[in-house]
């Protein structure tokens, strides 16, 4: 538990009961103490319209039918539940994957992008703006917009454009305009700032398709609702295959959209441990990682009150992670709540640990996971060592094809040349 945020057992109990009974977000857009709507006044009417539109359309049968049809026929849902027999043998616990990497465009991001794009269409949006870190949300947004005939502009940090170059090309091929962001830290956070600036300039005609469970209310709720299909499917598939629930559920956490999607269905199952794995980067020092639940304290960033990596003056720290998708100094408010309520444990995995887990998974299971997902794999491995024979279910949030430039530089880098052999006969 973070030193700066302490809740009594009675408060934890109350928060968890409220979460399980669906009282969050409350009327003020809060998950307990976290969340809210901290945006310029210009965006207030747009967020109110979005909230009203979401509450009107999301529960409607015709909206749900259209979403289901697209998820089924275009995204490829339900995604598979896979047993990982060789990793299970190597790690000592029974490991299962929920295969979001098999979803169209290669990650869970499409669930949210498609849902929001359908909503945008119904709300009469003229254009879509999105931000992206690893590029997966950008690709998913570009694909959903192409499918629905909506113009799409994606903001992406210049550093991320370089390390996720294949995804930049994919977005452009699907007709999206990709705008490099050279201000700020040139990663996901700067891309969100720039997307917000774009939205502020045309709040009426533009729909901001936010990709993670962060930002001002109602985004954390909207994204969770659209991603919760991951956990709903996985829980039912697991029960069907195994006749019981897993002992523990794992997901990686950056902003936290795949994690909240995976966890939400399991939160009421109190016998199931839920464990989120953040990016531990190069270490525990400030600026060396992106683990806001592990090392942050409460503050306001990009519309939302949550746990942040910041200094004592409230300046946001630059983060460091090998995975662009986890490289964010904040986290969704519902994760901050689940930490406060003591329901979810949040740990971290370093860059090196994630790379090693990625290598193992690729060799033993024939699945090349995304670098983001590899953090969760390491968490599951660590847990397996302490829980031999138990069962773990992990959200395989995305595939690693997009990470090839990074993997070429790391796991595939040629070993340094051996020192030249001494020449026979030379003086020594």
């Amino acid at each position: 538990m973070n030193a700066n945020v302490k809740f009594t057992p009675a408060e934890q109990h109350r928060l968890l009961d409220a979460e399980v009974s669906g009282q969050f977000p409350d009327a003020r857009g809060r998950f307990g103490p976290y969340g809210g709507r901290y945006v310029p006044e210009t965006l207030i009417p747009a967020l109110e319209r979005l909230e009203a539109g979401m509450r009107e359309h999301l529960p409607r049968e015709d909206f749900q039918r259209e979403l289901s049809e697209q998820l089924d026929s275009w995204v490829g849902r339900p995604t598979a539940l896979s047993h990982a027999p060789r990793l299970s043998a190597a790690w000592g616990a029974d490991i299962w994957f929920k295969r979001e990497d098999l979803a169209h465009t290669g990650a869970h991001k499409i669930n949210n992008a498609l849902g929001q794009a359908l909503l945008a269409q119904r709300l009469g949006a003229k254009r879509i703006v999105a931000e992206t870190g690893a590029g997966q949300h950008g690709v998913a947004s570009a694909a959903a917009c192409a499918r629905l005939g909506l113009p799409c502009t994606v903001y992406m940090g210049a550093i991320d454009m370089e390390r996720q170059a294949p995804n930049v090309g994919r977005m452009r091929l699907m007709g999206a305009e990709v705008v490099p962001v050279t201000g700020g830290d040139q990663t996901l956070r700067a891309a969100i700032d720039e997307a917000l600036r774009d939205w502020v300039s045309d709040p009426d005609g533009t729909f901001y398709l936010l990709g993670s469970a962060v930002g001002p209310h109602p985004y954390p709720y909207l994204v969770r609702e659209l991603q919760a299909i991951i956990g709903r499917e996985a829980r039912a598939q697991y029960l069907k295959r195994q006749g019981r629930l897993p002992d523990a559920v794992f997901a990686c956490v950056g902003g936290g959209s795949n994690a909240i999607g995976m966890f939400h269905a399991f939160v009421p199952d109190r016998e199931v441990a839920i464990i989120g794995i953040e990016a531990g980067g190069r270490g525990s020092g400030l600026g060396q990682n992106a683990a806001s639940l592990s090392y942050g304290w409460p503050g306001v960033l990009q519309g939302c009150y949550s746990l942040l990596l910041q200094d004592e003056n409230g300046q946001i720290y630059e983060t460091d992670s090998i995975s662009a998708g986890l490289d964010y100094p904040g986290v969704g408010p519902e994760h901050a709540l689940l930490l406060a309520a003591g329901r979810v444990q949040y740990e971290s995995a370093t860059d090196d640990e994630a790379l090693a887990a990625l290598q193992e998974c690729a060799r033993l299971e024939g699945i090349l996971p995304a670098l983001e997902t590899a953090h969760a794999l390491h968490g599951a491995k660590r847990w397996a060592a302490r829980n031999p024979g138990k069962q773990a279910l992990l959200c395989m949030s995305g595939r690693g094809d997009k990470d090839m430039p990074t993997l070429q530089r790391t796991l595939l880098a040629p070993l340094p040349a051996p020192p030249p052999a001494p020449t026979p006969g030379a003086a020594s």
Binding site: Y38, T42, V300, I316
Partner: protein
């Protein structure tokens, strides 16, 4: 006189002379932290109110100029603590001072301490671009105890019902954003903006100052009579950045 009354009075006094009051924005410590006091006095000599920007790493409502100035200030280690210490240690100008800050630096400072320290440093009010009216109760209550204003912003897309509510809660003045978008883009002032500003003025018990995109004497002249004050930001930051005389530049704005 309470600090927030000083702020309103300074704007009304200037407006009574027949020109909109000039609310002049500068980022604290930009272009130079050691010259902060000197720049502040020079800006104050040409303005009726000085708005001092507290740097923050994620200025989502600001355009390129102010983003650049904030990065420059952060690189020199400028913080809210530093700004309040500088203000506390200097001979302060007659023009009332307002701090413009995103919420997180204020939140981390602590609202009670902030209200007391700001009042002691001669700060009359706060403008917080990412704190909409609905989330503002805690900060408003803390500042009120010290008589310091929480200036509310309204925009052309603010609904009539909300406009009345926000204006009623604003202290010092109401900051009427002239356009949707970020700071720094120059705008014409069409009739529709004048009509909007007149609506704000009718709804507001405190003076109304128009801001975003104001950088010329012609724009200031066009707003005369419609609002009590105008905010100039990015254009003044550029003047300071170029090493020009801010007092003379501000005086030039009044000769429209």
């Amino acid at each position: 006189m309470k600090p927030h009354d000083r702020l309103s009075a300074a704007i009304r006094t200037a407006a009574a002379r027949g020109e909109p009051a000039l609310v002049a924005f500068m980022t604290a410590g930009f272009p130079s932290a050691p010259k902060f006091r000197e720049h502040l006095l020079a800006v104050a000599a040409g303005a009726d109110v000085v708005e001092i920007g507290v740097p923050f790493t994620d200025p989502m409502a600001d355009g390129m100029t102010i983003q650049r100035s904030i990065q420059g200030a952060l690189k020199q280690g400028v913080s809210l603590r530093w700004i309040l210490a500088e203000l506390g240690a200097m001979q302060r100008p007659a023009a009332p001072l307002v701090l413009m800050s995103y919420l997180n630096p204020l939140l981390q400072y602590g609202y009670e301490k902030l209200a007391a320290d700001a009042a002691a440093a001669g700060v009359c009010g706060f403008i917080v671009p990412d704190l909409p009216f609905d989330e503002g109760d805690d900060l408003r209550t803390a500042l009120q105890k010290a008589g310091v204003a929480l200036v509310q912003m309204v925009t052309p897309v603010t609904t009539p019902a909300r406009l009345a509510q926000v204006c009623a809660a604003s202290e010092g003045f109401v900051y009427a954003v002239t356009m949707t978008g970020t700071t720094g883009k120059s705008v014409e002032v069409p009739d529709s903006v004048l009509e909007y500003l007149a609506r704000v003025r009718a709804a507001s018990p405190v003076p109304v100052c128009a801001g975003f995109g104001i950088r010329s004497a012609a724009q200031v002249a066009r707003l005369r009579g419609t609002v009590e004050g105008v905010v100039v930001g990015s254009a003044l930051v550029e003047v300071l950045e170029r090493g020009e005389d801010p007092t003379a530049w501000l005086k030039g704005l009044r000769q429209g």
